[in-house]
């Protein structure tokens, strides 16, 4: 579980950028690339080390005019942490 007050950031080994040729957001790392689906990209783009998980959920719910995203965001961030894509960051 990731603390709702944690402020996750993309790990220094990875670079998040939009690839026009792929028409997708990707994570770049030494000698490799992960092509992200839309939900993954929308979450990771908000992992700036400033915003808390709670704020990310609020922001996504506002942007996509829906609610109940907290479970999905937590599940994704746990996976992303396991893969080394994000550092959870200290609670604010």
């Amino acid at each position: 579980m990731i603390d709702s007050r944690a402020r996750p950031a993309v790990a220094p080994m990875y670079r998040l950028q939009f690839e026009p040729a792929q028409d997708a957001w990707v994570l770049l790392y030494p000698e490799g690339m992960v092509r992200l689906n839309t939900p993954a990209a929308e979450i990771l783009r908000r992992c700036d080390g400033q915003r808390s998980v709670e704020a990310i959920v609020d922001d996504l719910e506002l942007a996509f005019a829906c609610d109940g995203l907290a479970g999905d965001v937590h599940a994704f961030l746990c996976q992303a942490r396991e893969r080394g894509w994000v550092h959870p960051g200290a609670p604010s």
Binding site: P12, Q17, V26, L28, E31, G32, M33
Partner: protein, 399 residues
């Protein structure tokens, strides 16, 4: 190939120079490198990077030779980063001062891969025929201090396989994010030196077991370092998906501008590789006869063309097929289905027989700048010219 439906290169390997201060006996540069010493200038490289990026290339490796010998490296890194490439520096470490590491960081370099030849000074210095072990150890710290992700790469062969546990320890101490244990692939200089470098199957299995144990240990204590064990394909008898397929994802640009599907392909006879001095990246990649020669599976013989593995291993390696079977379109001879598998087994049998003889062997003696030693020919300009002289039989397929 149709540019509208075909995939662009994903990986661009920019071999900025064949010049190198080291003399490694398994160097991946072509044996005749000294005959291709006219290097592209900065403007030509910038144009090539721009064209490749516009096609969709994402990963960029600056390699060589030793890329730090180019004093325009920082400018090329900055240009590449502004284009959106993920930039990798593949280096021996020679020339990477703290100031230069900072300058490369400021230019936008993303990652550094540092080569080691062994965990001991004696063998590292012998295999590279240079006094570089202590320098490399300092450079590893410089890379980490500058904040780069770091891959340590060590080419493995019979001399250093018994040290594999100590190589893992060394990489951990240095704070490597990845350790690539690259079992020797026998092309170019390594092909020439194959008799002296080839380990026995037992030596490979013992080393792999140690790697597996270290992986489990690292995972159990939550250590992040990952270890890649490059399959020794002669012993594993499993064709590698070489370059993920010919002309599929990987584009090498040699120092003189030649566009190649892999580091080694320029020695294949009968193929006219395009030179990017006069050909665009798009035309070279999609339209040149050489890049289409072994693309997809239409070129495959009956053995590969009907094999269930053909989409996984792409028929293995064309250079290996040429070196071992004398035919670049043959099934990769490491495969059990190849009619030439016996030639690979003969090399492994010879390695096993040589191992039995070994007790009487003289210890390796490091002589800086030596041309030969320990049954090996060191990479160097004089050896390159001699081995690629018209009368040389180096290219002959007689293992």
């Amino acid at each position: 190939m149709n540019p509208a439906t075909g995939k662009p290169p994903f990986w661009l390997l920019a071999e900025l120079t064949y010049r190198c201060p080291l003399h490694c006996v398994f160097c991946s540069n072509p044996v005749d490198y000294a005959r291709h010493d006219a290097e592209l200038d900065t403007a030509a490289w910038k144009r090539i990077l721009g064209e490749a990026r516009a096609l969709g290339a994402v990963q960029l490796g600056f390699s060589g030779g030793e890329p730090l010998l180019r004093d325009d490296l920082e400018a090329l890194v900055a240009h590449a980063r502004s284009l959106g490439f993920y930039t990798n520096l593949i280096t021996s470490g020679v020339g990477l001062t703290a100031a230069r590491a900072r300058a490369l960081r400021d230019a936008g370099l993303d990652h550094v891969q540092l080569s080691f030849q062994d965990s001991t000074r004696e063998l590292n210095d012998f295999i590279s025929s240079t006094r570089t072990f202590d320098m490399k150890s300092r450079v590893a710290a410089i890379i980490k201090d500058a904040g780069f992700p770091m891959v340590l790469n060590c080419v493995m062969h019979r001399f250093n396989l018994p040290h594999v546990g100590r190589i893992v320890d060394m990489a951990e101490r240095m704070g490597a994010d990845f350790l690539e244990l690259a079992n020797t692939q026998y092309y170019g200089w390594a092909w020439h030196n194959r008799a002296a470098l080839m380990p026995t199957v037992d030596e490979l299995r013992d080393a792999e077991a140690i790697v597996v144990a270290h992986r489990e240990r690292l995972a159990s204590v939550g250590q992040a370092m990952k270890i890649l064990w490059v399959s020794p394909d002669y012993a594993d008898a499993k064709p590698k998906p070489c370059m993920s397929g010919w002309g599929a994802v990987f584009l090498v640009v040699a120092p003189d501008g030649l566009a190649l599907p892999c580091h080694s392909a320029r020695m294949l006879p009968g193929l006219q590789f395009p030179n990017l001095r006069e050909t665009s990246v798009r035309d070279a990649w999609f339209d040149s006869a050489a890049f289409n020669a072994y693309r997809g599976d239409a070129w495959m013989n009956g053995t590969c063309g009907t094999c269930d593995e053909r989409h996984a291993d792409h028929g293995g390696c064309r250079c290996q097929a040429f070196l071992l079977a004398g035919d670049a379109a043959a099934t990769d001879p490491v495969c059990r289905k190849s009619e030439h598998r016996g030639r690979v087994d003969a090399l492994l049998d010879a390695a096993a027989a040589a191992a039995l003889e070994r007790g009487r062997e003289a210890p390796l003696r490091f002589v800086p700048g030596a041309a030969t030693g320990g049954g090996l020919v060191f990479r160097g300009d004089a050896a390159s010219l001699a081995l690629s002289a018209p009368s040389s039989e180096l290219q002959a397929a007689t293992p």
